[in-house]
């Protein structure tokens, strides 16, 4: 601070050093900048707060008229309406994560540690490009191209691995089921998980890696003992980012899933599951005010789920950086 003040050539400041300090702090540029950044920070809070308030107020009619509150047997049960949606949303997102994370970590490691530089750069570019494809396009691709191609695989899984509850049931063509939705979601969240993981793996301290190599570790052992433990928290937070996207994804799910409302584990059966976001999108067009309130209530639930998942992710990251 003082050196920079001394370096400034303005004669005023040199003649009056005590005032300089106060003056530097009060420069208009600084004030504007700090005001802007504080304002932006507060704006996030304000937006979140407004969204939460909006969701709560607009879903109040649904809550007040629900069977849970009124005790009226004829009223719509919010629990029965929302629970299958929550189940479907979380189920699809978790399945997508299970498929995407191993592949994403593999790609990230390949780019950061295995690929020659000539290949690594364009590959990284392509992954980033995948992130820029709008979800409607993924939905179209999934619905038109992917659905018929997954059919033989699903039939095989159903015939030979049907004893696993996941693959049981009676799949029927076209395969617009939760499994397809999860595959599309997995492709959609792949880029973000890959990109973040790659950055983390690249930051592994060079010395630690060299030390492992010097101790006679193979490349795979180096990655297992040095890179992966170092990057774990990064991979976890990348996965949570991906999970957040998968939970809230609307169009792609809407376009590849024949919705239903149940707690079925049979991901190959059509008309069993639906996600909150896709349900809102498909029902809101012709919704009466009370249906709209119910839809907004499911939106509130999704909001809370996303919050909880982010909190869990933060806790995990915080613990792993401590250890």
């Amino acid at each position: 601070m003082s050196t920079s003040a001394a370096a400034t050539p303005t004669p005023q400041k040199q003649s009056d050093p005590p005032e300089t300090k106060a003056r530097t702090a009060k420069r208009p540029g600084d004030l504007i900048f700090s005001g802007l950044s504080i304002g932006s920070g507060l704006l996030i809070f304000l937006t979140l707060l407004l969204v939460a308030v909006f969701l709560t107020i607009r879903s109040l009619p649904a809550i007040q008229s629900s069977r849970e509150v009124t005790g009226d047997a004829d009223a719509v049960s919010l629990l029965e309406y929302t629970a299958p949606l929550v189940f479907g949303t979380v189920f699809a997102a978790v399945l997508a994560l299970l498929m995407a994370v191993p592949v994403a970590v593999g790609i990230a490691l390949f780019i950061s540690h295995f690929a020659p530089r000539r290949l690594a750069t364009p590959l990284g570019f392509m992954i980033d490009l995948l992130a820029a494809v709008p979800s409607v396009v993924f939905g179209l691709w999934g619905g038109v191209w992917l659905v018929p191609r997954l059919e033989p695989l699903y039939m095989w899984l159903n015939t030979y691995l049907g004893w696993i509850p996941l693959f049981a049931g009676e799949p029927s063509a076209p395969m617009r089921n939760l499994a397809t939705a999860s595959v599309v979601l997995a492709v959609m969240i792949l880029p973000i998980i890959t990109a973040v993981s790659r950055e983390v793996f690249l930051q592994t301290p060079r010395l630690q890696e060299e030390a492992a190599l010097a101790l006679g570790a193979t490349r795979f052992e180096t990655i297992r003992t040095v890179v992966l433990p170092f990057g774990r928290s990064g991979v976890v937070s990348a996965s949570m980012l991906g999970l957040g996207r998968a939970l809230g994804e609307t169009m792609a799910v809407l376009m590849v899933l024949s919705p239903g409302s149940s707690f079925s584990l049979h991901i190959l059966e059509v008309g069993r599951h639906n996600s909150i976001a896709a349900n809102i999108a498909s029902q809101s067009a012709e919704a009466t005010p009370d249906v709209m309130a119910r839809l907004i209530f499911t939106g509130l639930v999704l909001f809370v789920i996303t919050f909880v998942i982010n909190a869990i992710a933060r806790a995990v990251v915080a613990r792993s950086t401590q250890g």
């Binding site: 619905g143 038109v144 659905v147 018929p148 029927s172 063509a173 076209p174 617009r176 809407l254 376009m255 024949s258 919705p259 239903g260 409302s261 149940s262 059966e269 059509v270 008309g271 069993r272 999108a281 498909s282 029902q283 809101s284 067009a285 012709e286 919704a287 009466t288 005010p289 249906v291």
Partner: protein
């Protein structure tokens, strides 16, 4: 020089049309020359802004009407927001829009509420968009399919599950039907198409279809698609699938002939219009409130009973003369032969029959401005 002169001419022309429009609007009492206004035949006569909202079923028809109307009346601005039937009626009753599109006519409660938005008058419904709903199917090796109402109901209710079921064979004695599972496909969103289709099922085969007339599919599970195009792509994507969709969007799919009386008839816009024509009007409504009680059990072989009727909801009284004239001109265009032709081309709808068109025109002529 030349450009300036052109500008002047344009200005003069503008002033002239404006004056003409004013004289057309202001001159004489509404009863005297309301008739010529309602026809919407004078290009450039209407001006001002008009907003409507409502059913998505009539979206492409409304799109064609607003575009053509603006082309005929460059001074006017008409918009249509397809927010859904009930949202459209709600906005209309709140006074947010001047007209609504709706797959269902206003209820008695809504008519009572309309006094506020209609300056003490009342709202009324006009059938403006008649669209046949086709039973579409995708079955390898079968191009022609004939179905009776109980068979269709059985298929969609889940009691008929294979294509060589005796009931289907009885309808199609000539065809060779495969031993293949039927995959019925329904709309996953709430829809006027579903409502009209289930209305047909419950009226013609109430003992098989026990779920009544509903706008949201009542049976849990099964294949479904979002929106008409979503449903059509699902039917296209499978083998042995069957669904119901706005006939103009059926694409390359097979369309079943439906049994009416003793014959199996193919859908056509004319047959759909005839079914509406033969259906009685709803009773207990005011003179200009034209609401159809669609008779799905018609046995006239020239009528196709699976139709959707979408209404234009208007006020009989508007706040000022300019709005009233604009509404009259627009609604007049919609029910005119040209307007109906435009929607037939854009959306494959059936033209209004002469009787309906005449009554609708008379209703539109009754629109006036608040005193």
């Amino acid at each position: 020089m030349n450009a300036r002169k052109n500008k002047l001419v344009a200005l003069a022309a503008l002033g002239l049309t404006g004056a003409l429009a004013l004289s057309a609007c202001g001159g004489g009492s509404p009863s005297a020359d309301g008739g010529s206004d309602a026809g919407g035949a004078q290009p450039g006569a209407a001006s001002g802004q008009l907003a409507g909202a409502g059913a998505s079923s009539a979206e492409s028809a409304q799109g064609a009407w607003t575009q053509n109307f603006i082309a005929l009346n460059p001074e006017a601005q008409v918009t249509y927001d397809s927010v859904g039937s009930s949202a459209g009626r709600e906005q209309f009753l709140a006074g947010g829009v001047q007209f609504a599109g709706s797959d269902a006519a206003l209820t008695e409660d809504e008519l009572a509420q309309s006094a506020e938005a209609c300056q003490g008058g009342t709202a009324f419904d006009l059938p403006v968009y008649i669209s046949p709903i086709a039973v579409v199917f995708n079955l390898e090796g079968v191009e022609d399919l004939q179905l009776s109402a109980p068979t269709i109901a059985g298929i969609f209710a889940g009691t008929i599950t294979t294509w060589n079921d005796p009931a289907i064979v009885a309808d199609n004695p000539e065809a060779t039907l495969p031993d293949l599972a039927i995959t019925p496909v329904h709309r996953s969103d709430g829809s006027g198409t579903t409502e009209n289709f289930t209305s047909y099922l419950s009226e013609t085969a109430g003992d098989v279809w026990t779920h009544g007339e509903v706008d949201e599919w009542p049976i849990e599970g099964g294949q479904s698609g979002d929106g008409t195009s979503g449903l059509v792509s699902v039917v296209e994507g499978g083998n042995g699938t069957i669904g119901y969709a706005d006939a103009s969007k059926a694409g390359n799919l097979g369309i079943a002939k439906v049994k009416v009386g003793e014959e199996y008839i193919e859908y056509s816009p004319e047959a759909a219009a005839k079914a509406v024509e033969l259906s009685p009007r709803a009773e207990g409504r005011s003179e200009h409130d034209i609401v159809m009680e669609l008779d799905r059990t018609i046995d006239d072989p020239g009528a196709y009973p699976i139709v959707l009727v979408s209404y234009l909801v208007l006020c009989d009284t508007y706040a000022d003369q300019e709005t009233a004239d604009l509404v009259k001109a627009y609604a007049g265009y919609v029910v005119s032969p040209e307007g109906q032709e435009a929607s037939a081309q854009a959306a494959g709808s059936a033209p209004l029959t002469e009787g309906l068109s005449t009554d609708a025109t008379a209703a539109i002529e009754s629109i006036k401005a608040a005193a």
